[in-house]
């Protein structure tokens, strides 16, 4: 911990950063994000295995961007998000310094995104066993039961859009659900509208989602929304060999194609 704090203090001292996004302890087991603006606040900075939040989501916020030079303490999911976002041209207006703590508890300060990319590729995470188990279970159901399962889940959705707010990939200044010329998605929290929202979200994140699972964790009514995108990523890798959050020159399944892409349903 001391190592990390010293490193960050150093960054503040030599003027590399003037805002640090990291984690601090909370009443619950899971640490919470914190924003450190001066050296005196560095003491609260911690990093443990329980630091799950994807802090990259804050990099889209205007108030964070204003700081100019931002340090960000990143877990592997956050690093993937940073790689993916770079491939989506999102960091043209900020200067950032990325830190992580590896398995051996060494603090790494990346000098550029290429280093982050190399680190991500060397430590690329597998899909979580738990998610795969649930997906396997869902796949074992009949179509009608799956429909029942998901529509029941979606009937509970209150359209709070927390899943969107927490997602580093959902950075559109105006989301399609807010589009009313034409109105693509019903605004009220009815199941059909909810269903459309979640299908659309899955389509927009397929191949871009970096599997941090924040959306599922954050959902106040407990819908495992992250499963949709996890499944999509799994399928895309199987079908097209693409991986999200893997390369700075992104290889995104939906803006590329191969003339011999295989499918079994087009007549």
């Amino acid at each position: 911990m001391k190592l990390l704090q010293n490193k960050v203090a150093e960054l503040f001292e030599n003027g590399t950063i003037n805002l640090m996004i990291g984690f601090k302890e909370a009443l619950t087991k899971q640490p919470v994000p914190c924003f450190i603006e001066k050296a005196s606040e560095i003491e609260q900075l911690i990093y443990t295995k329980d630091c799950k939040n994807n802090l990259s989501v804050y990099l889209h916020k205007p108030e964070v961007k204003q700081a100019g030079k931002i340090g960000i303490l990143a877990n592997i999911a956050t690093l993937r998000a940073l790689v993916q976002l770079t491939s989506e041209n999102q960091f043209w207006d900020i200067e950032k310094t990325v830190l992580t703590v590896n398995d051996k508890e060494e603090v790494i300060v990346f000098s550029d995104m290429e280093e982050v990319e190399a680190y991500v590729q060397a430590n690329f995470p597998e899909f979580s066993e738990e998610d795969l188990k649930l997906l396997d279970y869902l796949e074992s159901l009949s179509r009608e039961d799956r429909w029942k399962y998901w529509t029941e889940q979606f009937s509970a959705c209150i359209k709070c859009y927390a899943c969107r707010a927490v997602c580093p990939m959902c950075y559109c200044p105006q989301c399609t659900v807010e589009c009313n010329q034409p109105q693509w998605i019903k605004t009220s929290a009815q199941t059909t509208g909810n269903l459309e929202w979640h299908i659309m979200r899955a389509m927009h994140l397929a191949g871009r989602c970096i599997n941090c699972g924040e959306c599922g964790r954050i959902c106040p009514v407990g819908i495992p929304v992250h499963l949709l995108t996890v499944k999509m990523n799994q399928d895309l890798f199987k079908e097209f060999g693409t991986k999200s959050g893997f390369a700075l020159k992104g290889d995104y399944a939906l803006n590329s194609f191969k003339p011999d892409d295989k499918e079994g349903f087009i007549k």
Binding site: W147, L195, I199, L228, L254
Partner: protein, 153 residues
């Protein structure tokens, strides 16, 4: 009760399938009148959201059709569309949506006969499946339950 006549919406590209449907006309090939065509410049323009909106607005079946691979008027619109459909279908599959109600096809400008057969087949298939009510049920049931609950209180 009269026989169920399904509503089928066809999203087609201008250069191949729309022209193929025109050819079915010029060769006077008869087919089921349950289909309504919406013309797009290219399959690449066909938004998956429109497919959802079609079902939401009461379509019983949807046909999506364009140029065969390598024949796209814009060279690669259909290739992009194909990837999009692969992904879209797999999301629908996961959610348990009845993907049998969406038929994807390649119909070229020369395949008037194929177009007519396609429409007939899809019409028969959807007739056999009956009206699409999966979405109506969702909100319908929910509202009815709320209503019943309110009444009993």
């Amino acid at each position: 009760m009269s026989e169920f006549e399904p509503k089928i919406v066809a999203f087609v590209c201008n250069w191949c399938t729309y022209a193929g449907a025109d050819l079915a006309g010029t060769s006077r090939t008869q087919y089921a009148s349950n289909v309504r065509i919406v013309r797009f410049p290219c399959t690449g323009r066909i938004d998956f959201m429109l497919l959802m909106k079609a079902f939401e607005n009461g379509a019983d079946g949807v046909i999506v059709s364009g140029c065969h691979p390598n024949d796209c008027h814009y060279t690669s619109g259909n290739f992009h569309a194909r990837r999009r459909w692969i992904v879209f279908r797999s999301i629908l599959d996961l959610i348990g949506f009845d993907t049998d109600r969406i038929t994807f096809s390649w119909v070229s400008a020369a395949e008037g006969k194929k177009w007519a057969n396609l429409v007939d087949e899809v019409t028969d298939k959807i007739k056999a499946k009956g009206p699409f009510t999966d979405l109506d049920k969702l909100d319908g049931v929910q509202l009815k339950e709320l209503y019943d609950e309110a009444i009993t209180k």
